[in-house]
C-alpha cells in the first residue's frame, strides 16, 4: 500500500492520481522513485544495459498510456512495476510477444517500496533470505524468475525431478512471504 513518507515524500497514491489526470511532472517523479528497481530487474534478466533501458522506457510508457492498469487497492506500485518489468524483460529474453496485458497482472503485496530507505531495507532482507536458502532451492527460484525458464527446463538443466523443482520454487516464494510477514 502506498503510504505517506514521514519525510514528506508524496505517497504513490498522489502521484498515481496526478498521472491519471495527465501530469507529466508526476510521471517524472514516479520515474525518479522507481526507475532503479525497474532498470535493475531488467538488467539482471537481460544482462545488457541497452536492452534494460528499452524495458525501462516501455514499462513507464505503458503506465503513462494506461494508468488505470494498476489497481492501487491491491498493493504497492513499486512492486507492480517490478513484476511488469521482470515479465517484459523475460519476454525480450525469450524473443516472444508480451504474454500478458499489464492490466491483467494483479498482485498483492504489503511491502512499501516508496522510499529509498524502504527499498534498500527490503532488498537487503530478500538477499539475506536467498542467502540462507539451500543452494538448489535458490538456484531453482532464480532460474525461474530471472532466466524465465519453465519448470521442465529447470528440471532438464539440473537433472532433478519435476516435482522437486515445483516444490522448491513454491517453498522459496513462501519463505520470502513469511519473512516479510514477521
Amino acid at each position: 500500500m502506498s503510504s505517506a513518507d514521514p519525510k514528506g515524500i508524496p505517497p504513490d497514491s498522489h502521484l498515481e492520481s496526478a498521472i491519471r489526470s495527465g501530469d507529466q511532472n508526476a510521471m517524472a517523479a514516479l520515474y525518479d522513485r522507481y526507475s532503479s528497481i525497474v532498470y535493475s530487474v531488467a538488467l539482471r534478466v537481460l544482462g545488457d544495459t541497452g536492452a534494460a533501458e528499452d524495458v525501462l522506457q516501455d514499462v513507464f510508457m505503458q503506465l503513462w498510456r494506461n494508468p488505470s492498469a494498476f489497481d492501487s487497492s491491491r498493493g504497492s506500485l513499486g512492486a507492480w512495476l517490478a513484476v511488469i518489468a521482470r515479465n517484459r524483460a523475460i519476454d525480450t529474453l525469450r524473443k516472444r510477444r508480451p504474454e500478458s496485458n499489464i492490466a491483467d497482472i494483479v498482485i498483492s503485496v504489503e511491502t512499501d517500496m516508496a522510499s529509498d530507505a524502504d527499498r534498500a531495507r527490503s532488498a537487503e532482507k530478500v538477499r539475506g533470505i536467498l542467502g540462507s536458502m539451500p543452494a538448489a532451492q535458490r538456484s531453482a527460484l532464480e532460474m525461474a524468475y530471472f532466466e524465465g525458464l519453465t519448470h521442465t527446463e529447470i528440471a532438464a538443466k539440473t537433472g532433478e525431478p519435476l516435482g522437486t523443482i515445483k516444490t522448491r520454487i513454491r517453498a522459496g516464494l513462501l519463505a520470502l512471504r513469511k519473512a516479510f510477514q514477521e
Binding site: 533501458e53 525501462l56 510508457m61 498493493g75 523475460i90 504474454e99 498483492s108 532488498a123 529447470i154
Partner: protein, 260 residues
C-alpha cells in the same frame, strides 16, 4: 486455498510464468472459477516482486530519464481534441429540396470515390509497412550477427599472390544470421560467378549465396535464404562457378576458405 492443495505448486510456477502446456491450461480453467486460488496467485506474484528486489542496485543512465520525459511530452494526455467548427448552413436547402437531394447524391458519389482512393492508400500503406517490417527484421539480424558474442568470425584467405582476396564471414547459428564481406576479389571472367558455401560437420556444402564483386573487388552476402535453421558451420568457402549454374553443389574452382 483449503481444498485446493493440488493446485498449490502449479500456482507458484504460474505466478512466475514457468508453467506450460496442459498443466497451465488446466490451472487457468480452474482460476476462472476459483477466487481463493486467484487470491493466492496475486499473493505469489507479490512474493515474486520481493524477489525482484534482490536485483536492485544499478541505476539507469541519466539519458533514460530524458528519453522518458521527451516521450511523454509527445503523448500528452488530458487535453481535448479541438472541436471542429460546425458546417455552415446551406440556406437554399429550405427552399430548394430537389437541389439538396441532387447535392446529397453528388456528395455520396464523391464520398464513395474518396473511400475507394482511401482504401487503395490503406492497402498501399499496408504493403509498405509489411516490407519495412521485413527490412527491419533483416537489419536486426545483421546487427545481431555482427555484434553478438556468440557469432563466429571467420577470415577466409587465398594464396600468396598479392593483392590477396580476403573474406570475413559472421555467422550466428541460433538465428541463422550470416553476413559475408570480401575484398580484393579478382574481376569475374565472363559467364562466371562467385558462390559462398557453408560447410557443416558432415562435409556436405550448403549454398550460401551467389555474388559479384564491384569494380574495386568488394562484395557482400547478407542473410542468404536457404540455410537450414540452426545448422552448425565448420568451414566457409568461396568458389568460382558457372554463372548459368547449377549452384546446388560446388563444381568450380576454389577461391578461398576458412574454418570456424
Amino acid at each position: 486455498m483449503t481444498g485446493h492443495e493440488q493446485y498449490a505448486e502449479d500456482l507458484a510456477l504460474y505466478a512466475l510464468g514457468s508453467l506450460q502446456g496442459d498443466e497451465r491450461a488446466n490451472l487457468e480453467k480452474h482460476l476462472d472459477t476459483c477466487s481463493s486460488c486467484r487470491q493466492e496467485l496475486e499473493a505469489l506474484r507479490g512474493d515474486g516482486a520481493l524477489l525482484a528486489l534482490a536485483a536492485t542496485g544499478p541505476k539507469p543512465p541519466q539519458r533514460s530519464r530524458q528519453r522518458l520525459v521527451d516521450a511523454i511530452a509527445k503523448e500528452p494526455r488530458g487535453s481535448s481534441a479541438p472541436i471542429p467548427a460546425p458546417a455552415r448552413q446551406f440556406n437554399l436547402w429550405a427552399f430548394f429540396g430537389w437541389a439538396a437531394a441532387v447535392g446529397m447524391f453528388l456528395v455520396a458519389i464523391q464520398l464513395r470515390r474518396q473511400n475507394t482512393s482511401l482504401q487503395v492508400a490503406v492497402n498501399s500503406l499496408g504493403s509498405v509497412v509489411g516490407s519495412q517490417t521485413i527490412e527491419l527484421e533483416n537489419a536486426r539480424r545483421v546487427v545481431d550477427t555482427l555484434t553478438s558474442p556468440e557469432a563466429h568470425t571467420v577470415t577466409l584467405v587465398a594464396g600468396k599472390t598479392p593483392p590477396q582476396p580476403q573474406g570475413k564471414a559472421f555467422y550466428l547459428r541460433n538465428r541463422t544470421g550470416l553476413v559475408f564481406v570480401a575484398n580484393n576479389l579478382a574481376p569475374l571472367p565472363p559467364d562466371k560467378i562467385y558462390e559462398l558455401w557453408l560447410i557443416p560437420p558432415d562435409g556436405k556444402p550448403i549454398p550460401a549465396g551467389l555474388f559479384k564483386p564491384d569494380a574495386r573487388g568488394n562484395a557482400s552476402v547478407i542473410n542468404p535464404p536457404g540455410i537450414p535453421a540452426g545448422v552448425e558451420a565448420n568451414t566457409f568457402a568461396v568458389t568460382l562457378e558457372a554463372a548459368s549454374g547449377p549452384h546446388d553443389a560446388p563444381r568450380g574452382t576454389g577461391v578461398m576458405a576458412g574454418g570456424v
